[in-house]
Assembly symmetry: C2
Homo-oligomer: 331 residues x 2
């Protein structure tokens, strides 16, 4: 900045003022400064800028659990979209569903003086999140809540969606329905399983514990577990897949078997999936999808955060539950 100032024949202060919007700088001086900036290829050091009191970094830290999952990619897109409207930027980190990495990431975000955090929390305690709040850096939890962390949150109607999905299978006459999903220690896993159980209870059908298989985080393990289900002496006639990773795994396994002739297409279990996913149209045995909008989830999370940053910082925590929608799919 000093170089630019010298080049334009003004003081660094005038350069700073010009770059900050140009209040109280004569137009012709501004132009001279901007020309020097251009000529020297100068760009402001945002890090130095941010250490001055009263200055903000303009950064929002976003931590998601799986960057390769398009669901979370779309979520991040929604956050970015909303955050960009206020001139801020996101800095995105991947926790890979690992609590230690989440802590590291949050620590690092705070070190870079983010204005706020949007976190899809992993399955750990939230002391680092609570601390962030205490430091005056607001936190919004997305998709999952964390016990003991008094932060804004946006989640889906997990139980309601799972209930509706399971009910659809029950009403279609299925009595042996399997559950594929996350471990119950994860918020969404717990809630979706609860919905699954509630629907069974409502219809007076007992849940067969051999068919309730939580714990799969990725497609490969979901496929493996689906194979075990199909190999049972009395396989399920319907499967509720509690997230798109599990759906893709199950679909892959079923399709392979049908193609190989190991499984009769007519005998393939009916699927209902929580989460939409690409090419869901193409899947033959899928009878329903619990739809929701990850982009909207991101937008709402961002708006909660921005409200706190630009509006009232001291309001009490708000919890938003987004509706989901069961769409029967043509077969």
């Amino acid at each position: 900045m000093k170089d630019v100032a010298a080049h334009a024949g003004v003081s660094p202060m005038t350069v700073s003022r010009t770059l900050a919007g140009g209040t109280n700088v004569r137009p012709d001086v501004q132009e001279r400064v901007l020309r020097s900036v251009e000529e020297l290829g100068y760009y402001r050091n945002e890090n130095a800028r941010s250490i001055r009191p009263g200055q903000t970094s303009g950064l929002i830290g976003v931590a998601i659990t799986n960057i390769a999952n398009p669901y979370y990619g779309t979520f991040a897109l929604g956050v970015e979209e909303e955050v960009a409207r206020t001139g801020r930027r996101i800095i995105l980190g991947n926790t890979a569903e690992d609590g230690a990495r989440e802590q590291q990431l949050v620590h690092d975000f705070l070190g870079r003086r983010v204005e706020g955090l949007i976190v899809v929390p992993t399955d750990t305690d939230g002391v680092h999140l609570a601390r962030s709040r205490k430091e005056g850096v607001p936190v919004v939890l997305a998709s999952r809540r964390v016990e003991g962390v008094d932060a804004d949150s946006v989640v889906l109607d997990d139980a309601g969606g799972a209930y509706a999905a399971t009910m659809a299978l029950l009403d279609a006459g299925h009595r042996r329905i399997a559950y594929l999903g996350n471990t119950r220690s994860i918020y969404t896993g717990r809630r979706r399983y609860d919905g699954f159980v509630a629907a069974h209870a409502e219809r007076g059908v007992e849940v067969d514990s051999k068919l309730a298989l939580p714990g799969q985080q990725d497609v490969a393990s979901a496929q493996h577990v689906a194979a075990r289900l199909l190999d049972l002496d009395e396989p399920p006639t319907g499967i509720f897949c509690a997230n798109n990773r599990n759906t893709v795994g199950a679909v892959t396994e079923i399709t392979r078997r049908v193609r190989d002739g190991r499984l009769d297409a007519a005998a393939a279990p009916a699927l209902v999936s929580f989460d939409d996913f690409e090419l869901s149209d193409v899947v033959p045995t899928l009878v329903g999808i619990v739809e929701h909008d990850p982009r909207e989830l991101g937008r709402r999370a961002a708006r909660l955060l921005l409200d706190r940053l630009d509006g009232d910082a001291d309001q009490s925590a708000r919890d938003i539950v987004l509706p989901v929608h069961l769409r029967p799919t043509a077969v």
Copy 2:
């Protein structure tokens, strides 16, 4: 840091030294300092740290064109993986295939003093990238190259893959083969189209310009264009989809029509796709996939950059071409 120093009864310098690794600080003093850090919930201001001469930010800027595309998500995963091994972190931005946003993003990255950039460039001139290099911030281009920017790059064997894919269709007897892909102004679009044309030339088959349809960036527009192809008086018998967005669009349209009875399954065109994608196993009319590994692409890009950062900064630009592999899919 001053507070921590006071609390521990030492000078800020000793706190700094302890946090930097503790050389020349007595173990008992270190412990006292760390206890104070813990107690006060202190975390170092990385921005302030980075403005000192000789200090690096530990940040790598990564700009991708579409964060919601799992292909680029996986790419980012590969970059992060490799970069994390050196204790660095990535800061991820989405350009949405928009040159102006890419420029903004790069400018912002430089302002935050990233150590290097990994960019999947959009279809613009690369002056901002060239400038970054001039400023001493190395750039690695991934997936696409930019004319006039003398930077390291990792790209796929686009032409080779497209050639093999098209050749597979030609050898299966197809003579009316459509092309769905990016605009030719995008590097990969150009190269893949060239491979498409080269295969035709090799076999002495003329490319029907009504069937060569570049320009689709997303699934919706690809689906729309696929519909137009199917509505032709003489529709193609085979389609080469030059990227996964176009494949998903074409597959969706074909499947819908078959299901509606508007298209006879036997008459559906055979597809070959550049890029693998989820559930590719399930798609009936897909006869081949040009596979490659986005994660490896990310890793290699990261390694090129790290080589320059931790190794020889002045070596001349290196260009890596990753092989692709045509996998015939069971039908």
